[in-house]
Symmetry: C3
């Protein structure tokens, strides 16, 4: 999310879709905790715009996208509100949502890398900025829903973001055609994420228990 | 909270009252979780000053009020500490607290709109800034107490803030006498909140459950 | 953490040790919640670098240390990853960890005071900045592990940080030899913390319960 690519209108449209998709996913989580309508919209907006916000605050990159362009807030709130009205339908479209959410992850990651590149930070921080943009919104959602963030526990989500970011940044170094590289990165990231979901790829877990304490 | 209105000493005094009131409410929440004295004061300060802090960080508006004027930190900590000593009394004054907390909500909202207006953001963001100033402290309190934020689940709290902000900002557009308008907004917001508490007005809830996931 | 003292290489080395130690402690907490490897490393980095990050965001002090010097991120992640491999060993070295964690608390507090002094804030805020640097990382860890922060509930942790900060700042006023004073503060803070652990010093708790609500 976050960068408004004026030339690349496809990425622009994708970023609106991504904001709406992440907001709708968060709205379902809000419904599981019986939040009221205002709470659903707030949780949706925080989830959809939170990743980019955290990145910009950490980089000191002002103004925030949604402060300059409140339309993003409106899209996020509208996505959450639509979910209230269409909950059953939304639920049945589970697969569509997984795809939209994956699009969000990949688009946000690339946008995050773009912003970080502009403010001139070391290369590893560009990758980290992409990952924060893609993943931190979901962490905020889980904190506000009073759960240990899903990101830390399962699924290849952060890893997809890191691989996508690495691939994307490599392209800038190679001086290849930017549009082509963006499309390639998008395809790679999306495929990786869908395969991870399909085959339930997971990272090894670190399980530790002690008696004392 | 947060803006120090040098000319308008009434708002100034009200903002100190609001900081103390929100800190005292947070201290009671801390007591329910058996926090130690230092924890009570920290939770009080974070709750009372957190909303304005989040707003300023999101707007890139530095220095923060409590960094420039540490007296606000002292007022918040003192309010929390007083609550430890007077817990039973404070508890009996339940109604007084609801009024003070409502004053805080309305005063913080107006101050938040003022600050956002100064930094030149779009109008919807002025309203959002007011709402964040009024409500985000309570969200931080609930996160630190390990609960799903009350703000998302019940009561007309955010809605009161939004209505207050909308009414307040309308006045700036109308070029009416500022002091009068502030007083009117204050009366409106406070009345709305007290009525919402009295008659238990609530937003509809979004209840959603699924078997899978 | 966070200031890179180019002249004082001892403090520099200590700050890397502190980052690694806090990350390792967080990794054990992550293991208790069965997080996956990526989650363990993220939680470690957030815990070890979160205190300084929050301080810098609140003071508007950019760029963040780990953005300018990603080596800190690497140290934190490496510490967490080493903990996965050596969990049993790490666990047995419990005492060593308490000492390393205490070193972290004291070093971070002094570094936090240093940074705040540079950006010219009121004296009480210098102390608060030291405390935030020393303690806020652990609060983030507990929030992400879905627990009421330990900091608010028990142990002299924040208090050790405040006393250390007060003592450290006093020295700057006295114009004594900086290196000597740093060493003295370090010894004092470390001793205070170790005594607090050894003799289980605790603050009085505020226990409050009500029937209603």
């Amino acid at each position: 999310m976050w960068t408004m690519p004026p030339t690349d209108s496809v990425l622009h449209v994708l970023s609106f879709i991504a904001v709406a998709a992440q907001s709708m996913t968060a709205a379902l989580a809000a419904g599981r905790r019986s939040m009221d309508w205002a709470g659903v919209c707030m949780l949706g907006a925080i989830t959809a715009l939170g990743g980019g916000t955290i990145r910009d605050v950490l980089l000191g990159h002002y103004p925030l996208l949604w402060v300059a362009h409140p339309i993003y807030l409106a899209v996020a709130a509208a996505g959450a509100f639509a979910t209230i009205l269409l909950a059953r339908l939304v639920h049945r479209l589970n697969l569509a949502f997984l795809v939209l959410d994956a699009i969000g992850l990949v688009v946000f990651t690339m946008a995050g890398c773009d912003v970080a590149s502009q403010v001139d930070v070391p290369l590893p921080i560009v990758i980290v900025a992409g990952m924060i943009t893609g993943c931190a919104g979901g962490v905020l959602r889980d904190i506000l829903c009073n759960e240990v963030p899903l990101l830390f526990r399962s699924e290849l989500y952060a890893s997809v973001s890191v691989v996508t970011g690495l691939f994307y940044v490599t392209g800038s170094g190679l001086q290849v055609n930017a549009q082509l590289w963006t499309a390639l990165t998008f395809a790679l990231g999306l495929t990786f994420r869908m395969l991870a979901i399909r085959y339930r790829w997971e990272m090894p877990k670190f399980v530790f228990s002690d008696e004392e304490r």
